[in-house]
Subunit: 181 residues, 2 copies
DNA sequence: ATTTGCATGTAAAATGTTACATGATTGC
DNA sequence: GCAATCATGTAACATTTTACATGCAAAT
C-alpha cells in the first residue's frame, strides 16, 4: 500500500505517544492546526489501514467513562516508514488563496466586499497571533532545549512570522483600498 | 448547478478578455500561479459545464496553425455570478505544509534531511522573489493607477511580503539547526 | 528527424470533507 | 433535563490531479 500524506501525519503524531483517533485529532487541533489538518473521516479509516500494514498496533482499553478506547501506538516498522518519508524531498502543494483570487478578479463595484474580507482576515490573523503568543509562553516554561523542542519551536516561529507579514499586508491593502475612495 | 471555486477562477480569468482553455492556463501560469492553480483536466470540462449554464459562450475560430480554437467569453450572467461570489465571505482553506509537518515530527537522525529541505525551500523562495521583482518592474511601466491595477498590484505585494517572511524564517531555521551541531 | 509549443480532451485514481449515526458521561 | 465532551465510525459527495490520447506546425 502506498501511504498518503495523511498517513504520515498520523504516524508522526503517534510518535508523541500512543493515542486514539480522537487523541490524534486533539493533538492536531492543539498544536499543528495552523499548518496541518485532518478530519475524523480521514483519521479513523487510515488508522485501520495502517494497522493492517503493521505500521501501528492498536489495543482496546476501557475509557474513563464507560466506552472502549482504541489506543494505537507506533510500531518499529511505522517509525521506519516515517523517517524514510521525512528524508524524501518535500512536495510543494499548489497554493490556493480564495482571498487573493477575489482581489485579482474583482472590479470597482466589489470594493466594499473586498474591504469586508480584508477586515475579517486581519481579525483572524490577530487571533492566530494571540494563540501563537500563548503557545509561546506555554512552551517557554518547560524549555528543555533539545532537538524536538527546537524543531517545534521553529514551526511556531514560522506561524508567527508569516501571520505578522500577512497582517501587515492586510493593513497595507486596506489603506490602499481607502485611497481609491 | 452549484459552481465550484475552479469555476469562479475560470470566469474571473475570462473577465480579462475572451480566451481558450489553453489561454486560461497560460494566464494562470503567468500571473496568479503563486496563489492559484488549475489543471487542464479541470479547465476543459468546466468550460463545457459553464457554457451549458450560459455563464460563458464559446465560439470556434481557426487557430494560426491549422487547428480549431475554442474561444470562450464571459456572458452577462457569468459576470453577475462572478460578482455575487466575490461578495460572499471568503472560505479559508485548511492549511497543509508538508515542510512544517516534517519539521514537527522529525527526530535527531533526520536533521540532515531537514537541512536539505530548508535549503531547497530557500532556493525556491529566492526564485519566486526574483519572479515577483520582474513582474513588478513589468507592471510599473504601464502604471494606469486604476482600480484593477491597484488590486493586482496588491496580490503581488502579498506574494513579495510573504515570500520574504518565509525566506527570513528559512534562514533563521537553518541557523538554529546549525547550532544543534 | 525531433523537440517544443499550440491545442483539446477523457478516464481513472487519489484525496479529502461533510453529513450522518450512535452512545456514554460529566457538569451545569 | 441539557449541553458539552468523549468516542468511534461509515457513506456519500466533492474535488482535483495524473496519466493517457491525439495531432498539427514551427523551429532546430
Amino acid at each position: 500500500m502506498k501511504l498518503r500524506r495523511s498517513d504520515y501525519a498520523i504516524l508522526g503524531l503517534l510518535r508523541l505517544g500512543p493515542g486514539s483517533g480522537y487523541d490524534i485529532k486533539q493533538r492536531i487541533d492543539r498544536s499543528v492546526a495552523f499548518f496541518w489538518n485532518e478530519s475524523y473521516g480521514q483519521i479513523y479509516p487510515r488508522l485501520k489501514a495502517l494497522e493492517a500494514e503493521g505500521l501501528v498496533k492498536g489495543r482496546e482499553t476501557p475509557s474513563a467513562r464507560g466506552g472502549v478506547r482504541h489506543v494505537y501506538s507506533l510500531t518499529r516498522r511505522g517509525a521506519k516508514a516515517l523517517d524514510a518519508w521525512i528524508e524524501e524531498p518535500v512536495v510543494p502543494a499548489p497554493p490556493r488563496s480564495e482571498l487573493l483570487l477575489k482581489l485579482f478578479i474583482a472590479g470597482e463595484p466589489s470594493l466594499p466586499a473586498l474591504e469586508r474580507h480584508l477586515v475579517a482576515h486581519a481579525r483572524d490573523l490577530r487571533a492566530e497571533l494571540q494563540q501563537h503568543a500563548a503557545t509561546h509562553t506555554l512552551i517557554s516554561d518547560t524549555e528543555p532545549g533539545d532537538v524536538a523542542w527546537t524543531l517545534r519551536r521553529l514551526t511556531l516561529d514560522f506561524g508567527e512570522r508569516t501571520a505578522r507579514a500577512e497582517l501587515a499586508w492586510a493593513e497595507h491593502a486596506l489603506e490602499a483600498l481607502g485611497e481609491l475612495t
